[in-house]
Amino acid sequence: MMARARLATVWLDGCSGCHMSFLDLDEVLLDLAARVDLVYSPLVDAKTFPEDVDVTLVEGAVSSSEDLEKIQHIRRHTRRLIALGDCAVTGNVPSMRNMYPVSAVLARAYTDTAQIPGTPRDAVPALLPVVRPVHLVVPVDVVLPGCPPPAALIKEVLLAVLDGTTPNLKARFG
Amino acid sequence: MELEELNRIAADERAAQEQYRHRLLVCQAAGCLSAGSDKVRDALEDDIKKAGKHRLCLVKGVGCMGLCGSGPLVLLEPDNVLYQGVAAADAPEIVEHLDKQPVRHLRCPTDTPFFRRQVKIVLENSGRIDPERIEDYIAAGGYRALLKVLTELMPIGVINELTRSGLRGRGGAGYPTGLKLSTVAKAPGSPKYVVCNGDEGDPGAFMDRSVMEGDPHRILEGMAIAAYAVGAAHGYIYVRAEYPLAVERLNKAIRQAQKLGCLGPQILGTTFSFNVEVRLGAGAFVCGEETALIASIEGQRGQPRPRPPYPAMKGLWGCPTLINNVETFANIPAILRNGSEWFASIGTARSKGTKVFALSGKVKNIGLIEVPMGITLEEIIFGIGGGIPDGGRFKAVQTGGPSGGCIPEEHLDTRVDYESLRELGSIMGSGGMIVMDDESSMVEVARYFMEFCMTESCGKCVPCRVGTVQLYDLLTRFSQRSATRLDLERLESLCEMVRATSLCGLGQSAPNPVLSTLRYFRQEYLERMTDYDPRRAEEEAADGHDV
């Protein structure tokens, strides 16, 4: 019997919809559980990203200094990186702020429309000047667009990657 | 008007000029004008009057004399003494020396390669005749070719003569002129039109401007001959609004020609009628592309359309249209006057005649030159051009403007013709030739041209509209030394795609400056990458990846 693959899922700047779609795999999750160990994920308790991961699903765009550090760390410790969903693949909704300077975005959120104005400084990670899709920050092995990608596609891609083949997918944005 | 009358005008004009013992020809082309040659002319006239020599010395304004970087230029005839860098204050001295030795400190030697190695056809009158007087043009043999054509040749005879001459389009692509005329002549439909493309837009090119300003009648005569050959009765000269002097002189020339019967109804007493109108370009480089130019004459946004149909079949207002560039038309009278064999004897096997170049950049002799096809780049730059000034070292020569490429030192022995320049990844282009020394960064040059193409893209087709922006952004990364290997791959694949898929010549050739600098100066790109590894590059070079 083949060794169980070490699987991770991460959630950068996204809405968690891709993770919801992942959970929509339903009973396939049971088959999956037989083949992989979920070593890091918003769905499990692990607090730090492990050293040696076979496959990582990344949801969300790279928006903040924390996202940037995370994805670089993850890339270093992952054999196959899958950009999951439109935010990771194109920047999607998070990237809509790229048309404006960061200062304007913060002002809109924390001053103009806030009941108690005050821009957070140290408490939250700083926003990057532009939101970028994952593949423009670190090399990505497989991209899976969709908002969210349908569960069936996630299954197809994940199984192909676990089998060591290149998935031939008919996916679309949105 | 008949031959006798042309001869009479010519004889009268020559007699009128030759009654002066001295003739001072003052360059009134744009280059010298901006250096104050109009004031020089006024001062010379004043001082001649003051010295009481106005019956002995004629002052006349002429077109470009070529050595624009040393203006204002004044030529003393018949002694053939050239003065350079003349100021209004020099006038008394020049006048005083009319009957003595020439003024030494103003004298420009004319036995240099700059003058000796040139062969002048298109520019034969430039700097010799007053572009504002048709009589001067006629005295120099003007409108003889038109008269000969109208009285001795059938239209097919004209076409055959041009075909035999081997003349090819001087706008850059080098399409055989005779073949184009023949196509328009045979194309069904009427009326037919003749259009002269004077929308010289290459940055660093001023050949057509000099011809339009220095010898406008030559263009009109060439157009009229071509119109007779294809059966057109109406023509347009499309000129950049940035060239007001050219516009003024062309309009003046048209009026003079109409008055003498060289244009208009029943030209030179024959049944052939032809009229020319000047149309203003309004600042769009893409209008040098023939279908965009047609759209612009029609009053539309200057956007190209896919060819075929070619303008020869469906051009202006859907009618068969002959479009050629200024220099092409300017060659036609000389060919018909001197014969196709004479023209074909100049140049190389496939590129006949001469080519006018605007030589500029880091070269000693800056100006307008006309050279026989087949001359080497080295002869042009180091012979005629006098080499690199200020102890600089030659690095590359750029021909063809934003559609062309940079040619390095190892190819300086290349003979200038359409095919050999294309093989080197550049093009003949309309004639801009910019010399660069070792201070110039080739990445910056490529970026400069891409910025040009990006802002001049008409926006109609996707590859050019977006591709040039993407290419510019990538080149900026190289310029800022933040590029990666991935960017180099992107740059190359984008170049290939934009070239293959763009709608018109502007987009298709926009990658040329990048491709040619990548080909000859790849190292300059590699050094600007953050992940550049010299050892790996060496291995690749050994594998034949480099060039």
Binding site: A83, D86, V89, T90, G91, N92, V93, S95, M96, N98, M99, Y100, V130, P133, H135, L136, V140, V143, L144, P145, C147, L169, K170, A171, R172, F173, G174 | A284, V286, R301, R305, P306, P308, M454, T455, E456, S457, C458, G459, K460, C461, V462, P463, R465, V466, G467, T468, V469, Q470, D473, R490, S493, L494, M497, A500, T501, S502, L503
Partner: protein
């Protein structure tokens, strides 16, 4: 004059005025298009329908090219697919196409092209330029973020409706479709409110105000109908 030629090695013939694209579609050979819309004058601008002609280095746009006798055309080479993917990438990089929140999500020609051509992500840098949304018209709106400058709205308004309310201003990457003198659509003195531009638009750039995400379906059948009715007259 009828010409016979080959598309992807299949023998075909074209009647007077029929383009390579017309003939390809008659034989159910798929050639992707974006700026083309049956019933409007073709412009050859999007370059998606470029095809290869055997023996010629130049690619030709199928939508405006008539095949010559004996031509051998191929519509789907690896090179063409690569170029087409890059064209779609360029369009995604140029605009701000957020399919997930677009009224045309699921009914958009650009989105479908990306899917069909396997354009799953863009290697090009997104330009993220600030573009306007004009919602001044009482029924319709335009979101320039989603405009691909195919000029189908311009042509349908000029050629079919006859109003010529739309045109393109500026040039190059600064090009933008405009109504009248680049004024708010709602203040246009020439717009007839006919809505043909809405239906001609391949993306969610032009839409009806009442539509939410994914609800804006376009219907271009009116073009064929109008053409037929005009021919009958």
């Amino acid at each position: 004059m009828v010409t016979t030629f080959k598309i992807n090695e299949m023998d075909v013939s074209a009647g007077e005025g029929e383009t390579i694209l017309d003939v390809a579609r008659q034989h159910h050979i798929h050639v992707p298009t974006l700026c083309h819309l049956e019933g409007l004058t073709p412009v050859g601008a999007c370059r998606l329908c470029l095809v290869e002609v055997k023996g010629s280095a130049a690619l030709v746009p199928a939508c405006v090219t008539r095949a010559a006798e004996g031509m051998e055309i191929s519509t789907d080479s690896e090179r063409l697919q690569r170029y087409r993917r890059m064209i779609v990438e360029m369009l995604f990089a140029e605009g701000n196409h957020i399919c997930a929140v677009c009224v045309s999500n699921g009914h958009c020609e650009l989105q479908a092209l990306a899917g069909d051509l396997g354009m799953t992500h863009s290697r090009l840098g997104f330009l993220y330029r600030q573009k306007r949304i004009d919602a001044s018209h009482y029924r319709f709106a335009i979101d320039h973020n989603r405009c691909v400058l195919c000029t189908r709205c311009v042509r349908v308004c000029d050629e079919i409706e006859g109003a010529h309310t739309w045109d393109v201003m500026g040039r190059g990457i600064q090009s933008q479709v405009i109504t009248d003198l680049a004024q708010p659509w709602g203040s246009s003195s020439t717009c007839t409110n006919c809505g043909k531009c809405i239906n001609a638009c391949p993306t969610g750039a032009l839409f009806k105000k009442s539509k939410a995400v994914g609800e804006m379906e376009k219907d271009t059948h009116f073009l064929g109908y109008i053409r037929t009715m005009r021919e009958v007259k």
